[in-house]
């Protein structure tokens, strides 16, 4: 299978700050991958390296087998990029901006562009300076999607969009996936990533700390268990895999890492009246990597 994105030891240093360290990542064609991390973790740096906008300190980045740093123009022929903050020319109208960006890209599905304008409810006759932040974001989103590029690099693309427009965006990404386009989605909106992505990569302080499908990551993570027992709660502290135990009368709440069987054996001895177990949400997985306050990596704002 063709690889859409491949990075090998991709690293970037700004002065004494390591923005990205030894990133080794592969994204297959047709895959939708979520790229997560707190502010300053190195997400935008990764995307700017993939686009050749900044040079790698070391390592290599390929897009469809083309060295993105050495030959960005060739690499860009199959890429559409949507930044989180649209810096457009204020004196051009929406129509003019889309016309220009389409001509520069070289390929545009004009019927799809018109559909996108309708779907995102954009008035393209307005000048960019008259648009709200959300409407500017719509222009840059449409400019990226209308190309039907093989690879969509999306860097917090729904920033400033209302929930209705966010839903329209999800529909577009789902369509792109169905058409076989590859999507690299950097986002803070975990529900968006959870709904759209086949795989998730988690970045922390410039390091890739986790990559895999959501089900793989859930299997590796703790299961949430809540139970109401018939009798008094036995000593669960020595049961293998049990952590974060909370006891309230004859109710318990805990996390279980690994097989759940040892816990069930102990509980069934007392008698189980009610039991709920569920896999962690992406938010819980994400927070598990950073702590509930999300304080990890907070010192890197300058490199995002």
């Amino acid at each position: 299978m063709e690889t859409a994105i491949r990075t090998e030891h991709l690293s970037k240093t700004f002065g004494s700050t390591e923005a990205l360290v030894d990133l080794n990542l592969e994204v297959q064609v047709g895959e939708v991958i979520g790229y997560l991390g707190p502010n300053g973790a190195g997400k935008t740096t990764t995307i700017r390296l993939l686009l050749g906008l900044i040079g790698a300190t070391r390592g290599r980045a390929e897009i469809f087998g083309v060295d993105a740093q050495a030959d960005p123009v060739r690499a860009h022929r199959r890429v559409a990029y949507v930044p989180g903050e649209a810096s457009l020319w204020p004196s051009l109208t929406g129509t003019e901006t889309l016309h220009l960006l389409g001509r520069v890209q070289g390929t545009v599905d004009t019927a799809y562009r018109d559909l996108l304008i309708q779907r995102f409810e954009l008035d393209p006759s307005k000048k960019v300076r008259a648009y709200s932040k959300g409407n500017r974001q719509k222009v840059i989103l449409i400019a990226g999607l209308m190309t039907r590029a093989d690879l969509l690099l999306l860097d917090e693309p729904t920033s400033g969009l209302d929930p209705l427009m966010e839903r329209a965006f999800r529909d577009c990404v789902a369509e792109a996936r169905d058409r076989g386009q590859t999507v690299f989605l950097s986002s803070h909106i975990l529900s968006e990533v959870e709904a759209l992505c086949d795989r998730v990569a988690i970045l922390r302080s410039g390091y890739l700390v986790e990559v895999g499908t959501l089900s793989e990551m859930r299997h590796l993570s703790a299961l949430q268990v809540e139970a109401e027992l018939d009798g008094a709660v036995p000593d669960l502290s020595t049961v293998p895999g049990v952590s974060a135990l909370e006891v309230d009368g004859n109710r318990i709440r805990c996390q279980v890492t690994g097989p759940v069987e040892p816990l069930l054996t102990v509980l069934t001895r007392v008698g189980v009246r009610h039991l709920i177990s569920r896999e962690p949400s992406l938010e819980e997985l994400f927070l598990a990597h950073y702590g509930a306050d999300g304080s990890e990596g907070g010192s890197e704002d300058a490199v995002a």
Partner: protein
Amino acid sequence: MRWRKREEVYGERRAALAVAVTTAKRAGWQGALWGLVFGGTIAASASAYAGLFPTAASRARMALSFQGNTAWAALFGPLRRLDTVAGYTVYKSGMTVIILGAIWGLLVATRVLRGEEDAGRWELFLSGQTTRGRAAVQAAIGLGVGFVALWVPTAVLTVATGMSPKVNIGIGASVFFVTSLLASAAMFMAIGMFVGQLAATRHDANLLGAGVLAASYLIRMAADSDASLAWLRWLSPLGWIEELRPLTGSRPFAFIPIVALVAVLVVVSIRVARQRDLGASALASRDTAKPRTLLLGGQAGLTVRLTRPLIAGWIFALFVTGLVFGLVAQAAGTAVRGARGLEEAIERLGGTTSGAASYLGFVFVIAAGLVAIAVAGQITAARNEEAAGHLDNLLVRPVARWRWLVVRLTVALGLVVVASVLAGFAAWLGAVSQHADVGLGDLLEAGLNVVPPAGFVLGIGGLAFGLWPRGAIGVVYGLVVWSFLVETIAAAFDSNHWLRDTSPLLHIAPVPAADPNWTAAAWLVALGLIAAALGVAAFGRRDLVGA
């Protein structure tokens, strides 16, 4: 505890004055720098007079040659007492300082009172410890500080020059002169405040203000062209400054309309700011437009589209400059004949002809400096495109970096060539209308002759952009200012002095007073090309850098 409480009170006061402090800092720095430029211009004009016209006879001849020249008076204002250093200084520096001061005052005021609002920063201030009305009062105070920062260095340099025995202008007269010229800055600051409240964007406010400036200039132009229309001066803010007659018969009562205009506009602007909603304007803005995609087929067209106002402005400005050179060439050529200093300066530049051609050869070296400023503007536009993040939109698509920069530099070079040739053509039009004996071919050659130094500046600008993006604007304007400075003081050095070699403007021959120096021109072009090529290569290797 007491100390901590004091600190808190101090902090609150500072927060409440944040707009005034911010505005004062910005306007103050700019004002001080322009003050140095204005003071230097006045000082250079006054000091040059004694050297250029050392004898009473040469001064009288020069004054006589301008007598009755209405074209000159229409452009520069009434010419009074040109046989004195004071009269010459007013003529030589007056209109320049008045116009530049007005433009600066307008731009700084619209930036503070509309640009900040456009950018959304005003909202941040207003969410703090202030109100719309108070913020406008503070902005006015900040602009006042900027005006004082402009006035002080201009006055100090002018007074110091006046104290020199060769110039000999009294302190009071110097202060009156400086205050008169800078009245334009004060008035257009107030006009900028007012149009900033009327227009929906800073861009529209600047257009309105520029319209007022153009109308003021044209009204006084008509007034100065014909004695029977002199009353028209009272209808123009620039005319009021002429009515002050600094150094040539001071009439302080003309300050009355100036002070009244400033006071009324400041009060009205503050009232409007207090009453209107944030972001609202009295004049509706055209937020929609029919798509015009003719130039939006690619990067080259986009460059032209985005820099169109700048390009059109420079082409117009150089055309008018050329026309003015041509219109006054005949009279000035006669004056040059009597001025040993000027003749020597032209000889140093390699000129041999006398009369109108000699004068044109001398002033076209100045035109070369103006073209170099146009080039610096193009490098600034390129850098701003990168700093604002607009360039990202192109470079994330199949656009090569080298191609983008080469196209930008080529468009800039195209501007230089077109503007220079048109300046030469306009000079010919002006010259033949005054029956000067100068050929079209010679003046087109004079126009083209200013291209090589501008090309050199463009190459250095491209190199700086490639190597040091955040410093590129400073480098290119630094080179232009340095070149001007060396050109201004060049008369003081002999033709072999090394300092002269550091100015690209002094490497060209004073065409049409002399034949073009093809060798020097080729060197300038070659060095410019090498620098540009290195800049393009460096840009291909560096990171994109934001503001």
